[in-house]
Amino acid sequence: MTSGGLFLGGAALLALLGALGVAATRNVVHGALFLILTLLAVAGMYLALAADFVALVQVLLYGGAVSILVLFAMMLTQAPDQPTSADRHRLPAALASLLLFATMVAAIHATPWPGSGATQLDHVDFPTIAAALFTTWAIPFEVASLVLLVALVGAVIIARREPGE
């Protein structure tokens, strides 16, 4: 196995470990830290899959912004040393997700994947992605910025304390 394959496998292992931690722990802070582990490990997988720019965005947006936002919301809604209230539908939820996982794995292994076009990964450089984003996908790109703007203005209005409260 090549070093790239080892790196990919290690990152995948860490990502699964973090996801298992999120599913298992009842402490919100531990859950958030496990989530950050998963997000950074997925960024590592992106690196191994030749998606440098996506890995960078993942670290910046997920590892930075989203995890801080989650920790912040947790700080405002939960005493950190208290476990969250007990969950009610664990068994059906576990059964449903296991069933879905089994179906997906069966489908993945039943599909004859065509061999890769390239024998080795050539990394996609930033200008290529930038050209695609600002030419072919310019309209979705601008709509995405509008979505962000609307969502954040909405978040401010929803979270704002009203005079009566």
Binding site: L16, L61, R88, I108, S116, L121, I129, L133, L152, I158
Partner: protein
């Protein structure tokens, strides 16, 4: 050459663990974390297929970027809603609000 079925299995596992968290948890912040796991699994699929397919292989990466942007918008808005619920009800559990029930 990447091991495509293995990577797809990992992303399916991420998605299903996220689904379990979303279905089983009552705490809204945890439900959001599960959603993030599911979105990450989906985006990982896009990047894996982009790395596997030849030709215009960056298109999957562009799609993953859009997934990440939409996830950022979603998490901001949802956390604001959870904050509001907490102020209104004194708890972040999502199965407790019955305000809209007739």
């Amino acid at each position: 050459m990447i091991p495509l079925p293995q990577v797809l299995t990992v992303s399916a596992a991420l998605f299903c663990l996220g689904l379990y968290v979303v279905l089983a948890r009552r705490n809204g912040v945890f439900v959001l974390m599960g959603l993030e796991l599911m979105l990450n699994g989906a985006a990982l699929n896009f990047v894996a297929f982009a790395a596997h397919g030849g030709g215009q292989r960056f298109l999957g990466q562009v799609f993953a970027l859009f997934v990440i942007v939409v996830a950022a918008a979603e998490v901001g808005l949802a956390l604001a809603i959870i904050l509001r619920l907490f102020r209104l009800r004194g708890s972040a559990n999502l199965d407790e609000p019955r305000i809209l029930q007739g």
